[in-house]
Symmetry: C2
Subunit: 454 residues, 2 copies
């Protein structure tokens, strides 16, 4: 599909490093027919369009209402199938939460009409929150998982779609019947994505052992072999909850650690996304570092299920790559902006015991939500920021203006701009009170996938 | 002002005790001309209006879209004047945050047009979030404080409006010039409210020493005397941050504790609202209990400013009355529903160190947000629940329905109801993902003060 050459005119904000957020208030970004950034200008006069050869007839999209362009968010861990349970967890913790809330819902995806309804909704929701790339866990069902891939592809969301493997310690009504079945069905889902998007340009399969307790040793090893043979990335959970860590210790008595279980199966590689990492030992962190495996930090979920508080500063300082995940529905919200807030808040709680160095700044967490996420999913240099050659995976943020009379004009969203705020404070106000109402438009690879561009 | 007799028809939800939430799906509540609940029926047939003598011609308000009536929220601690700074705090903690962000903004309220714009906005915002009663801190300025009282009165929000007293350790550009000035100006604000609302039926003054470090010993004592003589309630901060606690120790070397400072001044009574209470000693908790002083728990603020995590379970178990406060703008949001979430999340962090008993349930925190708040502000039995004789201070909650095709109908808010959710799960989904879009209408004393009732 060829797009109109387009110039996006107005302020843009993005991370240039972990600690630095560039706020350019006089920007213009040209996006070519393939949806990639062709040029970036940083000193454009207000209300003027930069003149460039070959761009005279380009479409122009103007920023609106105290707005700015921001890179699309990358959700590195979300269970699409659990979306209807968002906010439903009571006082449970991981293992009883799975039994009570999760498995009954996931098992209903044997009915494809259930899957269509829920997956359509979750893709609409995540796009509306500015999520341009999502790493989805589906269910064990092949047709439903393939349908999720189809929906992402049609709606234009970048996605990693994983069929969940679980051949033990799972309910009779919801499990893989054998290791062979787990591998065969995983391959079927890989083949489906190869069929709809052969180059994995937008949608990619991802090998998804649920977590070590749900998978036999043989299952993990065969999935590790498939990971190696196919080059398809993999995702799983690790060290979310202390009871789970203890369970893994009992189930894999020969392994040195939880991380070691995955490593022995060939599932701990540079193309592995590990969700949670709350209770990792030093040795496990070091192993993850050496293997260049990536971490999805899911603070809302970790707090909601009382799993613990991940030591993100420690992980980052060690040189491990970290992104953010909503972990719906352990996490209650499908919004990465909410997860940004939660990550900052959890880091404050860590700081209360470990000292101020543990605090993550707004800039740092926005980096995790964009550039960090891009590294986690193996798309570093392709998405996550504004650089020539990167894909235009972008959200247009707008915010309301407070009139002299104290009423809100132009935008009835949750953020009130009074007019005297410095630009860095406007960004902070968006981070802390913004929601999907502030997401006026979303593009993936230059294609408008949510909202309106005029 | 006389109102139409009105029957509110449909599900209603409210706390009947700390641990119990009544969910009545077949309700009808009659509200009389004075805005008080005249009757409650719990077994009304769908789509039928109960027949009662004298109510034949009453107006009927039907619940909409997966909705329910819920008591209005009570925000027991909010700095109205700081609202434009919502979300602006960076990595600061209490004392530098005051200097950097707060005092410069508050001082601008010497200009009444600034005050009008901001106070109009904050009352609109809090009403839109379902806050029917708010305990406001204004600034030191008498005209601006009186204007806030006027705006609350006109808009119909129950409010406690406090002129802030601060005669030391405050910037030269923003402080009381003397103890006499602090007392005189506080009296002027009390008299203004007596003038507009003589019985304090809707708006009440509240004596507001900022906090002990900002007030000389003499200032606290004179305000304590005024509190005793006038019967006007008082509000202040206590034990929010460790550096602040240490500062109080240095400033009041003769006092046994921070709580003792207030007690010695006659400011620790059954009509005192103490915000924060994060680092209280056992002795202070016991003193607060004995004096029957009330506590405003402000979890969002306490985490955002890395103040600490209040031990709410301990306070409740001791028999102390606790409500919730947004503490805008130490807290980033003007929404008590957000504070409900934050209170649950903070209690999880406390549970991670102190054990599971510290966890607050959704039911418990909704109690704090309504019944607890009512006790904190001295309106127990008048607001906070649905009982005959109570005022109709209510929000009508509605939520979206997901169509079979996966799209959202009727309501474009943030909560997706798929249809199979149990009623308790619907409430949980509202708690965890709801926002002002789910607040379709708000009434105070039977008067519609936000949204639409049809």
């Amino acid at each position: 599909m060829s797009l109109d050459k387009t110039i996006y005119l107005g302020p843009f904000v993005h991370s240039t490093s972990l600690k630095e957020l560039e706020i350019c208030t006089t920007g213009a970004i040209g996006v070519d027919e393939s949806g990639k950034i062709a040029f970036i200008e940083r000193s454009v006069q207000p209300n003027s369009v930069p003149r460039r050869p070959g761009w005279e007839t380009a479409k122009v999209v103007h920023i609106q209402d105290n707005g700015f362009f921001f890179p699309g968010f990358i959700d590195t861990h979300i269970h699409a199938s659990q979306y209807p349970n968002s906010g439903i967890f009571g006082s449970s913790t991981l293992l009883d939460w799975l039994e009570t809330y999760t498995f009954p819902l996931e098992s209903s995806f044997r009915d494809l009409s259930v899957a269509r309804r829920i997956y359509t909704r979750v893709v609409s929701r995540t796009l509306s929150h500015g999520t341009t790339t999502a790493c989805y866990y589906a269910t064990v069902h092949v047709p439903a998982t393939n349908l999720l891939a189809d929906i992402c592809f049609e709606r234009g969301q970048r996605a990693f779609v994983g069929r969940v493997c679980m051949d033990r310690l799972s309910p009779d009504y919801y499990r893989d019947e054998s290791v062979d079945a787990a591998v065969r069905d995983t391959k079927a889902c890989i083949e489906h994505v190869q069929h709809i998007d052969p180059g994995y340009e937008l949608v990619s399969p991802i090998i998804t052992p649920r977590f070590a307790p749900s998978c036999s040793d043989d299952c993990l090893k065969q999935l590790g072999q498939l990971h190696k043979d196919s080059g398809v990335p993999c995702q799983t959970h690790i060290s979310e909850n202390k009871a789970e860590v203890q369970l893994v210790r009992e189930l894999f008595p020969k392994s040195k650690s939880y991380a070691d279980v995955y490593d022995e199966a060939g599932l701990l590689t540079a193309k592995t996304i590990l969700a949670h990492c709350v209770h990792l030992s030093d040795q496990e962190q070091e192993l993850i570092k050496v293997r260049e495996a990536k971490i999805s930090h899911c603070p809302a979920s970790n707090t909601a299920l009382t799993s613990g508080a991940a030591r993100v500063r420690e992980l980052i300082d060690r040189g491990i790559t970290v992104g953010l995940g909503t972990d719906v529905s352990g996490g209650f919200s499908a919004s990465i902006l909410e997860e940004v807030r939660q990550a900052i808040m959890v880091s404050r709680h860590v700081a209360m015991t470990d000292g101020d160095a543990a605090k993550l700044s707004t800039e740092e967490v926005l980096y995790l939500a964009t550039r960090g996420g891009a590294k986690v999913v193996g798309l570093e240099g392709k998405i996550g920021g504004f650089e020539v050659g990167m894909g235009w995976d972008t959200q247009m943020i707008s915010m309301g203006s407070v009139s002299e009379g104290g009423e809100l004009s132009h935008n009835d969203g949750p953020v009130d701009i009074f007019g005297k705020e410095a630009w860095s404070d406007r960004v902070a106000k968006w981070v802390w009170n913004g929601d999907d109402r502030n997401v006026r438009a979303v593009w993936v690879k230059g294609r408008l996938v949510h909202g309106t561009d005029s």
